[in-house]
């Protein structure tokens, strides 16, 4: 059993999808509970992983490897290390909770849960795959369910949002595919095995290509491949200027899918850069990361925060806050300091938890009021005190209030990047103020002030909704008070990763 923990985590939900398809669609509750049954084992395995993961070992653990298509050297190769473990845990937790958050879906329940479980398989798969081909398959497998989940169960502009998401992501992934093939044919013997591709890093030429504009930029093969991969990942993050799909997709998606999108899918972008660009193409990483991770990250922080401030739609505000918060991850990664990179991955984890809470929070009032206009509410604290309390926890965590998880990761990122570039850090720090601005303003408009007559009798948050938010709230507090519960898992692998790139920094 324990030899194949990761495979079980990835494929339990797929088995669940098949099981759901076999159930009669006239019994929605059977379908819902079956989905729960198939997401519990991955969660329990995740807990088991947490306790059996060796935090001092920077290398890969729980590895499974066997040949898949031997003639092309394609393997089924999975494993985790400090870069991925927090993401795998996050995915298992959010998938489980989102099954409950989707309880209110009434239309085509069977299709919804089958696609959701398929999506779950794809997400876990991306974080555990160590063969490039396998990674790409999992990466793309997520696309289709996502398209249907947004397109069928989404809001009024769901069709537009779904196809936009689909086209953006596909554009990124085909560039990634070309980069993967370029690496495959440069390696000798040809392989998709990420560990071997990393070991052959010296093969990837950095000699500038004598063709405009590459000769001017002094870009070699390595830099071009880096950019191909980076664009693919940047669309997922989403880094400016590839972020425009995000507000549409988040706003139109049903609540649980927004949680998954923001909580897990966005992390795949930064995860991919850490897993692939950093160790495989260290010279290009050293050359390009200041501009494309540092500066773009800072720009994301400020731009996202300003956009969030201008929003009238509560969900769109949360969506733009994601753009802003993912900027910290990029900035932290670009610093190549222990604080920066650990802060970045911790921020990925924290953002997943906090944004998950924020989207669930918006979902609660949307289900009751059927609109999300910030100005349309007011004084909810008097009507729904429990809901307000838990929302406040999420909002303050997002704001980076000391004692809550967001604070730790943002401070680590800023500490790390200060050593590298005080200017960028200074700009990024203004983002903290802007964040506090738009969030506090929202609290004031939605929860405080005069109660809107229409919502005097709005029912309090129910047990199911509380059940989806409380576990996240607990994690927010635990990580905020004692961040080592997560940081210890990451440290060894991330510091080793830093050491790969640092010698290449000029």
């Amino acid at each position: 059993m324990t030899d194949h923990v990761l495979s079980y985590m990835a494929f339990f939900p797929l088995a669940g999808a098949v099981a759901v398809l076999l159930l009669p669609s006239s019994r929605p509750n059977w379908i819902r509970w079956t989905s729960v049954i198939f997401t519990v084992p991955p969660l329990l395995l995740g807990v088991w992983l947490y306790f059996h993961f060796d935090p001092n070992n920077p290398g890969l653990q729980f590895v499974e490897k066997f040949a898949w298509i031997p003639s092309y050297n394609i393997q089924y190769f999975v494993g985790i290390d400090g870069i991925s473990i927090s993401m795998v845990l996050l995915t298992a937790l959010l998938s489980f909770l989102c099954i409950f958050a989707s309880w209110g879906i009434e239309k085509g329940v069977k299709g919804y849960y089958a696609l959701f479980l398929l999506l779950d398989t794809g997400m876990v798969g991306v974080f555990i795959a160590l063969d490039f081909f396998l990674f790409y398959i999992f990466w793309e497998v997520m696309l289709l369910p996502m398209y249907f989940l947004i397109g069928i169960w989404g809001g009024p502009r769901r069709e537009y949002a779904a196809i936009k998401f689909f086209l953006y992501t596909l554009f990124g992934s085909v560039l990634m595919l070309l980069a993967i093939l370029a690496l495959y044919f440069t390696s000798e013997p040809h392989t998709f095995d990420m560990t071997q591709l990393i070991a052959q890093g010296a093969n990837y030429s950095t000699k500038p290509i004598g063709m405009w504009p590459f000769d001017q930029l002094r870009w070699g093969f390595q830099h071009i491949v880096w950019m191909g991969l980076f664009i693919g990942f940047a669309i997922k993050i989403p880094a400016f200027p590839f972020h425009t799909w995000l507000p549409d997709a988040h706003v139109e998606a049903p609540t649980a899918i927004s949680v998954i999108l923001a909580g897990v899918l966005l992390k795949m972008g930064t995860y991919g850069i850490l897993r692939i660009n950093f160790p495989m193409l260290p010279q290009a990483t050293a050359d390009l990361s200041y501009a494309f991770l540092g500066v773009l990250g800072t720009w994301n922080i400020i731009y996202g925060a300003l956009c969030a401030m201008a929003q009238k739609d509560f969900k769109k505000l949360v969506a733009y806050s994601s753009v802003s918060h993912m900027g910290y991850v990029m900035l932290g990664m670009a610093s190549f300091t222990p604080q920066g990179i650990n802060g970045a991955v911790l921020q990925m984890f924290n953002h997943g938890i906090i944004t998950g809470m924020l989207f669930l929070m918006v979902g609660v009032i949307y289900d009751r009021a059927h609109h999300r206009e910030i100005e349309g509410f007011g004084g909810l604290a008097a009507v729904m005190p429990v809901y307000t309390a838990i929302s406040a926890l999420a909002i303050f965590a997002s704001m980076g209030l000391p004692g809550l998880s967001g604070f730790i990761s943002e401070v680590l990122v800023l500490l790390g990047s200060w050593q590298k570039s005080p200017v960028l850090t200074a700009f990024a720090a203004t983002g903290v103020i802007l964040t506090a601005g738009y969030l506090l303003w929202t609290v004031q408009r939605v929860y405080l002030g005069m109660t809107n007559e229409k919502y005097k009798l709005m029912p309090e948050i129910n047990a199911r909704e509380l059940f989806t938010m409380i576990p996240l709230g607990i994690i927010v507090i635990i990580v905020g008070v004692y961040p080592s519960v997560v940081l210890d898992l990451l440290r060894a692998s991330l510091n080793q990763l830093n050491q790969v790139v640092i010698p290449h920094l000029s």
Binding site: S71, E140, L144, G151, I152, A162, F166
Partner: protein
């Protein structure tokens, strides 16, 4: 091994069986009341021919009928592809209401004759034989295109097809005459020897090759010989359109590869082919390939009729397939063969759904697919989504693997611009394929939309093709070895 006429007959069994079936169908048509039986007889005939073809894998390679045709793994591969397409299309025709209104005996006989012509296309090693085979396929195709009685669109399409076809084959035979004039030979083997030993005029050769390409390109449907295809696809009976889109395309690829590779290129020890030096034909093909895929995809974007859209998508796919020839490597050729098999499965699947929907609603417009997933059985909609996403090239579906091999071959030979154009085209194609999926799943049916019923035979076929599309997307090892093995030309 050179075989004379009598000695060749032993290796000609698949063709004999096919020819016998054609005659049998015509005779039975006179007496039999249940016309469905004719299709079944044809299927059985094809199956017999299939097994006879498989048996030939043990035979030594050689040239038959005084060097007119080759017996090698390459020709056997295309014969199997043709037979598979014929069997699947006949099966598809069983469930088609459109075909039920036709003279079924003649329909089946013509389809089989077309398949027989494709057999010759795959194995011809003489320019004259190649020309005759191509004409045999063309003429049967013209008739079948105009086979819908009292249907103006069908008749118009047939006439258009005929006129374009006449021009293209005229150009081709003119080009062949240039080659003959320069080498004094029509035989591929001698032609090869003369071209590589002598010093023929490069410009004249280039012109001759481009003229010949007109004839082949007309079958594979690439730009600028593509104009007939949207009208013909739309006008012809749908199962025949499906046949045209896969089998005719595959036969065109076969004849193109056999002429341009073993006959006028040389295989190096590294698995790369060297074209006659000084003839810029590969560069010409590179441009043609890029224009074909781009034009096909851009034109498909605005189509309202699904058959027409699939015609343009077929043009785009012809462009993708050509990439394998452009790079002049065995990897590329192998990727082409692989893609042909995959394309056969997914494209026939898509046309099958068109047949199923047209049976129920009589509509071929995309609008007729509104809310298909919510109208009775969801199976056609789900299967269609699988085929269309596979045509887009999304994993884990077979189409992805096919495109993966093509892209891999292109990247390996460092044709980066071609690779970028091709992937950009994949993204464009997603838009129009997803539009159909959107209409089927994201829109909801209106009360006036009739429900879809599936007859058991079509349901089985649909299930079979969808499962194959999925399975080949996950485990394609055996097919790769098969295509690798099929890339063996017998030359002399």
């Amino acid at each position: 091994m050179d075989l004379d006429n009598i000695a060749s007959l032993e290796y000609f069994l698949p063709e004999f069986i096919l020819a016998g079936t054609i005659l049998l169908v015509i005779v039975l048509d006179l007496g039999i009341k249940n016309k469905r039986a004719l299709a079944l007889v044809s299927i059985v005939g094809c199956l017999c021919s299939f097994s006879a073809t498989v048996h030939l894998y043990g035979a030594p390679g050689g040239l038959m009928f005084h060097r007119m045709m080759a017996l090698d793994h390459f020709s056997l591969f295309f014969k199997l592809v043709t037979l598979s397409a014929t069997i699947l299309v006949l099966w598809m025709s069983l469930g088609s209401r459109e075909v039920a209104t036709l003279h079924q005996g003649e329909y089946a006989a013509l389809l089989l004759s077309s398949a027989l012509g494709m057999f010759f296309m795959a194995s011809a090693t003489n320019l004259l034989m190649a020309y005759l085979a191509l004409e045999m396929v063309s003429i049967t195709s013209y008739i079948l295109t105009g086979f819908l009685p009292r249907n103006r669109r069908s008749s118009e399409a047939a006439l258009k097809y005929l006129i374009y076809g006449a021009v293209a084959s005229g150009a081709m035979i003119y080009g062949m005459s240039w080659i003959f004039g320069m080498t004094g030979s029509l035989d591929y083997g001698q032609l090869h020897a003369t071209l590589f030993q002598g010093n023929p005029n490069r410009l004249a050769l280039f012109i001759a090759f481009v003229l010949i390409l007109a004839g082949f390109g007309y079958k594979i449907v690439f730009v600028p010989f593509h104009m007939w295809s949207p009208d013909v696809y739309q006008g012809a009976p749908t199962p025949f359109t499906a046949f045209l889109s896969v089998a005719s395309n595959a036969a065109g690829v076969a004849i193109l590869l056999r002429f341009f590779f073993p006959a006028v290129s040389q295989l190096g020890p590294d698995g790369n082919w060297r074209f006659l030096s000084g003839v810029e034909w590969p560069q010409f093909l590179l441009v043609v390939s890029m224009i074909t895929m781009t034009l096909g995809n851009l034109s498909a974007l605005s189509q309202q009729n699904l058959k027409r859209m699939l015609a343009y998508s077929g043009i785009a796919h012809a462009g993708y397939i050509l990439m394998g020839a452009v790079v002049l490597s065995n990897d590329g050729l192998q990727a082409m063969l692989f893609y042909i098999v995959v394309y056969l499965i997914m494209n026939l699947g898509a046309f099958l759904v068109v047949v199923v929907v047209a049976n129920a609603t009589g509509k071929e417009e995309i609008e007729g697919y509104r809310g298909l997933a919510w109208r009775g059985s969801a199976m056609p909609a789900i299967a269609m989504a699988i085929f269309l996403f596979s045509l887009t090239g999304l994993p884990p579906l077979a189409g992805f693997v096919g495109k993966f091999f093509l892209f891999a071959a292109v990247i390996k030979q460092q044709f980066y611009l071609l690779a970028i154009v091709a992937v950009a085209n994949s993204v464009i194609s997603l838009y129009y394929y997803a539009r159909v999926v959107k209409v089927m799943f994201l829109d909801f049916p209106e009360p006036s939309d009739s429900t879809i019923e599936l007859d058991p035979s079509s349901a089985t076929l649909l299930g079979l093709l969808s499962v194959m599309t999925l399975v080949l997307g996950i485990y394609w090892g055996p097919l790769v070895s098969f295509t690798k093995q099929s890339l063996q030309f017998f030359t002399n």
